[in-house]
Amino acid sequence: MSLSQAARDRIVNDFIPRYPSKRAALMPSLWLAQEEAGWLGPEVFEEVGELLDLHPTDVASVASFYVMFHRRKIGDRLIEVCENPSCFLNGSDQTYARICDRLGLEAGHGGHGMQTTPDGKFSVRPTECLAACDYAPVVQVDLRFYGPVHEADVDAFLANMEAFSIQGKPSVSMANGPQAVPVDGWEGHAPPAPGSAA
């Protein structure tokens, strides 16, 4: 798996000129390489290194810093379950366990350990806060997030993720204003109702 000519051209003609140093073009270059192949293989470190005058070790080291760069081949779809407090308190650990179970994977696989189904269709791993805590527990599939997905929803979710799409759904607090947040004694910073003057 190597970089396509189009990717090389884009790195050389678009990314590199954007920055004062070639090394600064590393992140977009790695992103592009992963867009193409779904993961970053050893050849990519060589090839990107050659284009940016970097040692392949340097390239691989940067890639390894970010969990969203994959240095191993992953499944066709990447399912990530948020394990941070809001989601956890809403049972994301059970959601995670259930997803693993349904896909024939081991739950309780700690850290950011990634598991991939033998048929290569899915990879599953826990993740940090996805900044969509109001839909907790949140599940992200290929950079698109869904929620809430409780343990009991998992089968339906796996059958039809779109039903759980947050996209297009109004945000609870934003759309419905104060009444949607029935917390006693909370005087909070409710956003102005739509249409009201700033």
């Binding site: 050893p42 470190f45 970097l54 040692h55 392949p56 070790t57 340097d58 390239v59 691989a60 080291s61 390894s64 810093f65």
Partner: protein, 854 residues
């Protein structure tokens, strides 16, 4: 507000003491200037700032702007804070002590504390800082982090990930100093792992330095691991004997054997670095394979051990016989480039006074009797100091791969280039320096004179302009190059005229230009022409002394100064062997030279050894050449010697004996002195100091030393200028015309670490030596139908050898490159001496032949 120039110095207080330091000084250094050592881990004066470990925390207060209330002091890392006027640094503030204690506690949580089995134990900054600043008890009761231990980063460097405190000294060094960022941290935080991409073994020849830099036992040396405790070691100051840079080293010995080699700081030479050859290739000094006791050939020619007296007697009788029958000139003396000054001086005297031969040469393979190509300009062969490379405006490297030829000086050249020197690399083949070169000239093999003449022609076209805007008068130079135009010269050199003009402009525009020419160019038949061309270049640039020729051998310069070069009517080393092969020279006296491996024509060297009536050899090992000798004297290694050596820049440096030699081996000067006694013309030396005394008095270059060897910095020495030199522009011989033949022109070069006898005694280092290869261009490979990685046969005028083929873009079409210190037999088996360009053909080795077995 009016802008005032920034002050040159800054005054501040450190723990109540006022100090004045240059502006821009780091707080940690200012404290040091005040006599206070702030503990550090990640900070290193030779590396960029990291601020990674937080060990150096001090309470630092800044003077507040006039009229404003005083600002409370704050906890800051003193290794990243630059001083300012009125700053107060409190290194012992309660907060600072607490911070340090906290840092140590954290570091030790993740540290295995396996000091009892750690090589660093006893010389470990983590131990020392814990002892001095750490909490005296640990609160940590949990399971320690587990990570890889004893992991090989290469055959030479071992990593213990558990011990690593993630200070980034090693990764910064690799990236910043040799520029080989092959080591880096993977993942982050708690899971940080030091690795190479794909866990490939590290390849850099400077990697050993990270062992010294590591502030704990995370990085250790494979060859020294578990060999000694620091307190068991004895130390001797010495100088590396593997190349002409002359890095200062410390030989650490245990039980009279060298246990390890470490760099010794000398800012003028190696700063604090050494290369891996200098560091690891020392096991030969204590090898059981060393020669022990002399050998003498019996009547049938077979060698047998003998007493010293018999060996001396035998050598004396045989040499005397040749001298009486054919005259002293029938004896050729080759060697001396790796000896001490004392040995070289004794050898020069032995040749001149006892053997009475002018045929002496330390420059193996030399084709010119001229030892200093720059003599017509009143210059030495080397005229600058090594440190000057740091301040150069432009550096022209011609005929050298500095990474292999002068390894640690390459680090200095890189430093210069990083500071703005424009690096120009002229070489038929891509070298390591090309990676950071400003301009590259990929010229035809052997066309250096044409190339430099082209640069001179370009300077005549557009003369350099001095500070006042006045163009230099180069009309005399125009005559010296005989009207050669840039176009003509460039065509002969196989480069573009525009590139030649651009290079000339770079050199002309540089404040301190510097020219380094490879040692091999200095011994080639056209060296005098090249010397004239480069000497003219220096003059044209207004810096006559900027031109420098390298020299081969750890003490090549010392050998040159000592006079181990052809005397009146004498012939160079290459010719000595040619004449021995043809029977004109009857005896060969070889001191530490395995000519079968190093003379450019192996068949001729073999013929010379077979034809010579007498062959006397001084050696450490039973080399192939020694097996052809009539008398073999076992010599001592550099670790067993006292004396001095002179590095490439003419710096005389002292070496001290680290290992007491066995009585079965003697220093070369002693062997020569004793032999001269038997021959009735005794040099009469019994102590090194006597030889030193005489050489300091006798050798013109050392007159400046005032009869004493210099102290630890060493001292630069120069040969007095030739009286005959003039200030006119010497004429350069017309540019030779190059006629490429059908085959590939062979270019050879020595890798820094080859499979040489002394490297072979360090198996860990030997495993890093690549399989003997030959390199050709992709176009030639497809034209010849040859495939990368396959076995090929190289046929040349002298014979054929097999090599593994590397196909890449490092050589231009029409050229093939093969290192001359890899493989057996060496590439010198295909070449013929005296053939200007060795043209070879390559053919695939048939699989059938491989299966059939050989």
């Amino acid at each position: 507000m009016t802008a005032s120039p920034p002050p040159a110095t800054v005054t501040l207080t450190v723990d109540g003491h006022e100090v004045t330091v240059p502006a821009g000084t780091l707080a940690v250094e200012a404290a040091r200037a005040a006599g206070v050592d702030v503990p550090v881990f990640c900070y290193h004066p030779k590396l960029s700032l990291a601020g990674a470990c937080r060990m150096c925390m001090c309470e630092i207060g800044m003077a507040s702007p006039p009229g404003q209330p005083p600002r409370p002091p704050a906890m800051m890392t003193s290794c990243t804070t630059r001083v300012s006027n009125g700053m107060t640094i409190n290194t012992m503030a309660p907060g600072a002590l607490k911070a340090r204690e906290g840092v140590i506690e954290f570091l030790l949580i993740n540290h295995p504390l396996d000091c009892p089995v750690c090589d660093a134990g006893g010389e470990c900054p983590l131990q020392d800082n814990s002892h001095a600043w750490g909490p005296k008890e640990s609160r940590f009761e949990e399971q320690k982090r587990l990570a890889r231990k004893g992991a090989a980063l290469s055959p030479l460097v071992v990593l213990d990930q558990e011990r690593c405190i993630v200070c980034y000294r090693c990764t910064r060094f690799m990236d910043e100093v040799p520029g080989e960022a092959e080591l880096s941290f993977f993942n982050r935080g708690y899971t940080s792992q030091l690795r190479t991409v794909g866990d490939e073994p590290m390849k850099s020849r400077f990697q050993g330095n990270i062992i010294d830099l590591c502030p704990c036992g995370a990085l250790t040396s494979e060859t020294y691991r578990f060999k000694a405790r620091p307190q068991d070691l004895d130390h001797a100051d010495s100088v590396c004997g593997q190349c002409p840079v002359g890095c200062n080293v410390m030989l650490d010995t245990r039980s009279n054997e060298v246990a390890r080699v470490r760099p010794r700081q000398n800012e003028a030479v190696n700063e604090i670095w050494i290369c891996d050859k200098g560091r690891f290739a020392h096991h030969y000094t204590s090898s059981p394979n060393r020669l022990s006791g002399p050998w003498v050939a019996g009547d049938g020619g077979e060698l047998r051990t003998s007493s010293w007296a018999e060996a001396h007697g035998s050598a004396a009788v045989r040499l005397q016989a040749v001298k009486e029958k054919h005259g002293g000139a029938a004896i050729g003396v080759i060697g001396g480039r790796n000896l001490t000054n004392e040995d070289a001086y004794a050898l020069a005297r032995f040749a001149a006074e006892v053997l009475e031969t002018p045929n002496v040469d330390f420059r193996v393979g030399a084709e010119t009797a001229v030892a200093n190509p720059l003599a017509p300009f009143g210059l030495n062969a080397f005229n600058t100091t090594l440190a000057q490379a740091e301040r150069a405006g432009a550096i022209l490297l011609i005929g050298t791969d500095v990474y292999d030829e002068v390894p640690v000086q390459w680090l200095r050249i890189r430093k210069g280039a990083k500071a703005g020197a424009k690096l120009i690399v002229a070489n038929p083949r891509a070298t390591e320096a090309d990676r950071i070169a400003f301009q590259r000239l990929r010229h035809r093999p052997g066309s250096e004179v044409a190339l430099v003449t082209g640069i001179l022609a370009a300077l005549v076209e557009t003369p350099p302009v001095d500070g006042e805007g006045v163009a230099r008068d180069l009309s005399g130079l125009s005559d010296a190059i005989g009207g050669t135009t840039v176009e003509v010269a460039a065509r002969h050199a196989g480069v573009k005229p525009e590139t030649v003009r651009a290079v000339a402009a770079t050199l002309a525009g540089a404040k301190n230009p510097l020219v380094y020419a490879g040692a091999r160019l200095a011994i080639r038949h056209d060296a005098p022409s090249l010397g004239t061309a480069l000497g003219n270049l220096g003059r044209a640039l207004g810096h006559p002394e900027c031109v420098n020729f390298f020299v081969e051998g750890a003490n090549g310069r010392g050998a040159e100064f000592a006079g181990l070069v052809p005397g009146d009517g004498g012939v160079p080393a290459g010719e000595i062997i040619a004449r021995a092969a043809s029977g004109q020279i009857k005896a060969l006296y070889l001191v530490g030279e395995n000519i079968l491996a190093t003379h450019p024509d192996r068949a001729q060297a073999l013929a010379a050894l077979e034809a010579a009536d007498v062959v006397v050899v001084h050696e450490l090992f039973a080399t192939e050449t020694a097996s052809h000798a009539d008398v073999v004297f076992p010599a001592v290694s550099i670790a067993e010697k006292d004396g001095s050596i002179t590095n490439i820049e003419g710096r005389v440096q002292r070496i001290y004996q680290a290992v007491r030699p066995s009585p079965d081996r003697l220093p070369d000067w002693r062997i020569l002195s004793d032999l001269s006694g038997v021959m009735g013309l005794g040099l009469g030396y019994v102590a090194t100091s006597e030889v030193t005394r005489d050489l300091l008095a006798d050798i013109p270059a050392y007159a400046s030393l005032g009869g004493k060897l210099p102290g630890s910095e060493g001292a630069i020495t120069r040969e007095p200028a030739d009286a005959g030199h003039s200030d006119s522009w010497p004429t350069i011989a017309p540019v030779p015309v190059f006629e490429p033949g059908d085959g590939l022109t062979l270019v050879t070069w020595s890798e820094l670490v080859g499979n040489e006898t002394i490297v072979a005694e360090t198996p860990e280092l030997l495993t890093t030596v690549p399989e003997a290869y030959v390199e050709i261009n992709r176009d030639d490979a497809s034209r010849l139908g040859l495939v990368d990685g396959t076995q090929v046969e190289i046929h040349g005028p002298g014979g054929a050898v097999e090599r593994v083929l590397r196909v890449n873009g490092r050589v231009p079409a029409g050229v093939c490159f093969a290192p001359d210190n890899l493989g057996s037999p060496r590439i010198n088996a295909v070449a013929r001496h005296g053939v200007e360009f060795t043209v070879v053909t390559l053919s695939p080795v048939q699989e059938a032949a491989l299966i059939g077995g050989r």
